[in-house]
Structures are given as C-alpha cells and as structure tokens.
C-alpha cells in the first residue's frame, strides 16, 4: 500500500500570523493619526501664546 502524505492543518497559525500583522499595522496607523492631531493642537496653542507675547 502506498503512503499518502496529507497536508497538515496549519490554519490556526495562518490566522495568528495575519492577525498579528493587521493588529500591529492598525495600532501604528492609529498612533500616527493621534500623534498628528496632538501636534496640530499643540501648534495652535503655541501660536496663540506667541501672538499674545
């Protein structure tokens, strides 16, 4: 009888791998947006302070 090689079930690892990818990328994109907004607010505040002075 011939031995047949079956494809291993590695679906869970596939899901984990891509979950890590999408999770880290989402966190990084959100961090970019948040940091940009905070900088904009800080710039507005500093410009106000500069004009007052």
């Amino acid at each position: 009888m011939m031995l047949q090689q079956t494809t291993p079930d590695t679906f869970n690892y596939f899901v984990v791998g891509y979950t890590v990818f999408f999770l880290v990328m989402t966190v990084y994109l959100v961090s970019l947006v948040v940091r940009y907004r905070n900088l904009k607010k800080e710039l507005e505040l500093l410009e106000e302070l500069e004009n007052e002075g």
Binding site: T7, Y13, F14, G17, Y18, F21, V24, L32, Y36, L46
Partner: protein, 232 residues
Amino acid sequence: METKPRWLTVLDVLTAIFFVVAVFLVFVFAPMERTMGLVQKVFYFHVATAWVGMLGFMVAAVAGILYLIKGDRQYDTLGLAAVEISLVFFFVAIIMGSVWARPIWNTWWTWDPRLTTATIVELIYAAYIMLRQGIEDPDRRARFGAVYAILGFLSVPLTFISIRLLRTIHPVVIGSGDPSAEGAFNMSPRMKVAFFYSLFTFSVVFVDLLLHRLRMGKLAARVEELRLKVSA
C-alpha cells in the same frame, strides 16, 4: 498650517487598492502549499514586511549621509521617519516568521544566524529611537542620528547575507541556500505572482507611510521650534 496635498490623498487611495489586491492574491489566488498547509501563506507578507524594514533602514542611512554633507535638518526628519516605519515592519516580520516557524520547525524561536541577526537589527534601531529622545539640542541630535543610522545600517546587509553564507535552517527565497534549511519550497507561477506583487505593494505602502510620517516630522519640528521660542 499646511493642508494635505491632493496627490497624497490619491496615493493613499491607490495604496489601499494595491493592498486589497495583494490580500486577495495571497488569500485566494495563490495555491496552498501541500507540505506546509495554509501557514505557508504567512511567507508572502513576512518577506514583504522584512523588505520594507531593510528598505527603510537603507533610506535612513542615505538620509544620514546627506545630512552630514548638506547639514539640512529635513534629512534628519526623513531618517527618523524611515527608521520608525521600518522598525514596525521589521518587528511584524520577526513575529510572523516566528508564527510560521512553530508548525514547520516545531519551535517558536531558535538562535539561528538569520533570527539572531534580525533581532540585533531590531534592537539597534529601537536604541536609535530611544537614544535620540535623550538629546535636547536638535543639531546634536540630528548629527548623532545621522552617524548612528549609517553605522547601524552595517547590520542590515549582514542579516540579508547570513542565510547565504552561514549554516542555517532558514530557507532562502531567491538564490540557493543551505541544504539543511527547513521549510524551503518551490514557488508555482501563481505563488510568484502573489510574492512579487506583495513586494511591490509593500514598497508603495512604505512610500505612502513615509510621506505621511514626514509631514508629521515637519510639524513636530515646527512645534519644537515654537516651544523653544515661547519658553525663552
């Protein structure tokens, strides 16, 4: 304040479209590899993220050289932006590689030459970000950043060639590797399409992110300048 240019919005949309197509090619179009199963598909984005990592570290080194020659602080902003993005992508590449390794090598991690050198690269550039924060004078910080990015880049080609020169279990995608490598496979034409398209897409993603991070860097420089002015 500088508004977002229209061409950058167009690039954002194009990047998103390229990315969705890449996901389709990897998840649906590329066939499942028979000996590894679905986890082999991790390989496409693993290599692409590692590529972006190395590309960004190279951009930072070039920006460092240009800063030392011209003394323009915009090159420092470019170097920092490139390192930050690459650090994230390289981290993802290492984690995805570890997830792939678990069913294929039967371990999450091994101190193989490629994995070791990749970890060293990640730590070198993490230190770049941390050490910069400890320098208050912008010119000194930029000079330090430039020299560090140039010297730090020496670790990148070392990582790239480690699997080609040293005895390793990490497979080589392009070119011939160590025969003892575990998890190597021949790519079918459809796999090649998904692989090269992913590399292309991630290069575009890198450029798009770099442009956004540059805008943020310029804003941060303006804030720092005003902060010094107001507090003086």
